[in-house]
Amino acid sequence: MEKPRFDWLQPVKIGLVGGAIGVFFALVGMVEAFSIRDIVDGIVSMGQMLMLISMTFTGYMAARRTTQPQHLWVLGSSLLAGLMFGGMVALLLIVGSLVNLRAVFINASPTLYELLAFGRGTQAGALLLLAEGVLVGVAAGLLYLLTGRFRQALVNALGWVVMAGVLQELLRITFGAWGPLAVINQWLFTGKGLSVPGAASLFVLVAGTTYFWSQTGSVLSNRLRRLPPGGQHTLRLVGILLLVLIVLALPQILGLYLSEVLTIVGVFALMGLGLNIVVGLAGMLDLGYVAFFAIGAYTMGALTSPELGFFSLSFWEALPFAVVAGVLAGVILGIPVLKMRGDYLAIVTLGFGEIVRILALSDFLRPWIGGAQGIAKIPKAIVGSIEFISPQQIYYLILVGCLLAGFISWRLKDSRLGRAWMAVREDEDVAAAMGINLVATKLLAFAGGAAFAALSGAIFASKLGSVYPHSFNVMISINVLCLIIVGGMGSITGVIVGAAALVGLPELLREFAEYRFLAYGAALVLMMLVRPAGLMPEATRRRELQEAETVEAEPEPAFGAPASP
């Protein structure tokens, strides 16, 4: 037999792809923009970290794809991939020093070259990059060769340190607001990034915990599972109680800013719950969902703001009108699209959303709803003597809204109406042949979805105290659609998780400006490639995944066999 030969093509390919990604990071400006912030003060900046991580990942992938398990070969592949990565970036450096790339690529600045070359000039920098590639590649290979548990611990620890570095502003503020935790701040952070001892201790802590948890965790959960039913029941009760307590106390724990993030997530989750009825249950693709959100907000504004001078109702007086306006709009939009299917529906609803936004902005309706100048002085909600002003208070308002919407969706899903919606989603004609009134069922879905969106809009208007037409563009509709699908279509917890992932996370990363959209886009693509069913797929689907094997095991009946005489 021929001796297996070292396959050098595969790691080179992987290395080149990785290197291209590295060059991409450099040219879109991420390396330079992120280099202002240190992950660990004086040791490594975020920009360098980005390069290091992508290099490690490249090396790791090359190691994983190695055809033969020999350690040396694995290390060889990862080394080669790392070298290629370093080489690509070095090439950028050299080309950049010869040609003025900046005439086209705006971020190919002298600062970038300096960063890439570790401040040592082109030639030395290029050599250093190659060396870095080799070192990191080998390190990645070693990481691959480690036992699973050990690797898990290392990766987790690294991840935590990087996250802590990336979110340092946020953590510092959050800890700072909690007197005793301020001590953590001093230990963990310097003015510029994580302190060296802070980073080291965090690393050790996380690595240790992961390592030991992987040993003891399963034992513990096994023991829990073996509890008597009564005990499990109590345990679950305690868990739920704890969850309720945490949910109620969240704004107090998290402080002002994170509460603001929570309220924004809540506003979107509320919309998501509504759209989930229309898209997830009834299967009608609505790309103009923002229209109902806008109608809720504008109804609230027009009825309450003294600025316009028509009405000055209180929040609670105006709220039912806002919801009813949403429902009416839902029905009015619903009627013309009753007979449209799939993507015709999508584009018509998209148009409806744009029509609403354009009308809100127009000089035509300006005397009634403020035109470009919007509506200001919208009052806050008042209950008893409490005025819902700060995000920490508005959180509760939104929470009630979300709970209500979640409860209603949950109850409806398993009801006659919910089944009718799903039947319409699956097959309209057959649904009609089962006695389902398509008109009523579809309109109810539109109306229900619109009601939640309008409620969300009304709260949103009161939260901001002003509404502007610019807040209601098509991106909102798209964002809500993405969050229910990323969350897991049709699933209520999925909506919440999706909102947290697609609204909360970008909100936390607001300081990274345009790069968060870049990441958002990439994340959407990756998410759908890796988990097309969403983060929290609907319960039946999950059950089905487990059952799939048993079904396949059953013998297929011979079908299609014609009856022969």
């Binding site: 086209v104 029509i355 354009i358 870049l518 886009g521």
Partner: protein, 353 residues
């Protein structure tokens, strides 16, 4: 007979007819009022129509890409607007370099050819990469999944180009031979608009013939009809899908350069609005239907140009042009209410989703 009609007329239908009637009434009354106002002369109307045709031709060219991809994959390729943006944005740097070197001045035709080729190549590469990386693995996934991927890809590409080329805009240089206007008696037509309309018409006709007559075109149509059967017939399905993306990318790149020659500015966000309009045009004409996309684009352009000034001006609506998109979308709804599969009807195999 009357009994039958009455019986089949439900509450919702009557509502729709009433709304439709009301809109038609507004249009008729508004148009009559505008015309009787006498503010616009025949020359003005001629201008409105030419403006609408030029804008519509570009919508139509972009719509081709949407409609072809939709026909073959049944998905809204949201990122098509970024395919449209990437080509002319990149080619702009070539155009500026040509302009600086004086080559553009001395060899305008050759320069334009270079610009077109660069733009079409870049757009095509982006389109093909998109198909390979983001869409192909999801071909059997539920319908909404590739839609979300497409949205994500759209974001990613927008901000990639923003990162690469900056957040400002670039402007195409002046090309002397495309400036100015021709006079037809009292009427005046801008050269650039004539060029855009003719070029678009030529490209669309070429594409139509390609799809109808050539072997590849027929294979693409077979794949749109039924992928499995096409595969059984020995057609390389993946290859045809890639070719569809190539064609979509090329037409988007070309449309982008025409757009850039007409409006000059290119920037990372330039694809978004035309993209949405073009998809609307594709639906308006009948999705999956290539002549429909052309017709839809032209209709949309005309509605946008004529609509506000003809329908609303006479009614005394302030700033009617602000409402042009609203008018375009209302027209779309009207068309779809009365012709639920677009003006020319869709060319899709019966319900396969």
């Amino acid at each position: 007979m009357l009994r039958r009609v009455l019986e089949s007329l439900s509450l919702t239908d009557s509502f729709m007819w009433l709304t439709g009637g009301a809109i038609v009434a507004v249009i008729v009354v508004g148009s009559a009022a505008t015309l009787s106002m006498g503010r616009y002369s025949g020359r003005h109307w001629f201008d409105f129509i030419i403006f609408g045709l030029a804008q519509g031709s570009i919508y139509a060219l972009i719509a081709l890409g949407y409609t072809m991809v939709y026909g073959i994959l049944r998905m809204i390729n949201f990122a098509h607007s970024e395919i449209f943006m990437s080509g002319p944005y990149t080619a702009c740097y070539v155009a500026m370099a040509l302009s600086r070197s004086g080559f553009l001045e001395s060899q305008p035709i050759l320069s334009l050819a270079v610009i077109f080729i660069v733009a079409m190549a870049v757009s095509t590469v982006i389109a093909v990469l998109l198909e390979r990386i983001a869409y192909r693995p999801l071909r059997t996934a539920p319908r909404l999944v590739p839609l979300i991927t497409a949205i994500g890809a759209s974001f990613f590409l927008q901000y990639t180009f923003r990162g690469l080329y900056g957040s400002g805009f670039q402007a195409y240089p002046d090309i002397r031979m495309l400036q100015g206007a021709w006079l037809l008696g009292p009427l005046r037509i801008l050269k650039i608009q004539v060029v855009v309309i003719l070029a678009a018409a030529l490209m669309m006709a070429g594409l139509y013939l390609f799809i109808q007559r050539t072997r590849i075109g027929k294979a693409i149509r077979a794949v749109s009809e039924d992928k499995e059967i096409a595969a059984l017939m020995g057609i390389d399905v993946d290859g045809m899908i890639v070719r569809t993306f190539v064609i979509g990318g090329m037409s988007a790149g070309a449309a982008g350069v025409l757009y850039a020659l007409m409006y000059r500015q290119v920037h990372f966000f330039m694809g978004f609005i035309p993209g949405i309009k073009a998809f609307t045009a594709a639906v308006l004409g009948g999705i999956g239907n290539i002549p429909g996309a052309m017709l839809g684009g032209v209709f949309l352009g005309l509605f946008e140009s004529l609509g506000p000034n003809l329908f609303l001006d006479g009614l005394g609506v302030p700033s009617p042009n602000q409402l042009k998109d609203a008018i375009a979308f209302i027209m779309l709804v009207m068309v779809l209410i009365f012709r639920p599969t677009g003006i020319l009807g869709e060319r899709l195999a019966e319900k396969k989703a």
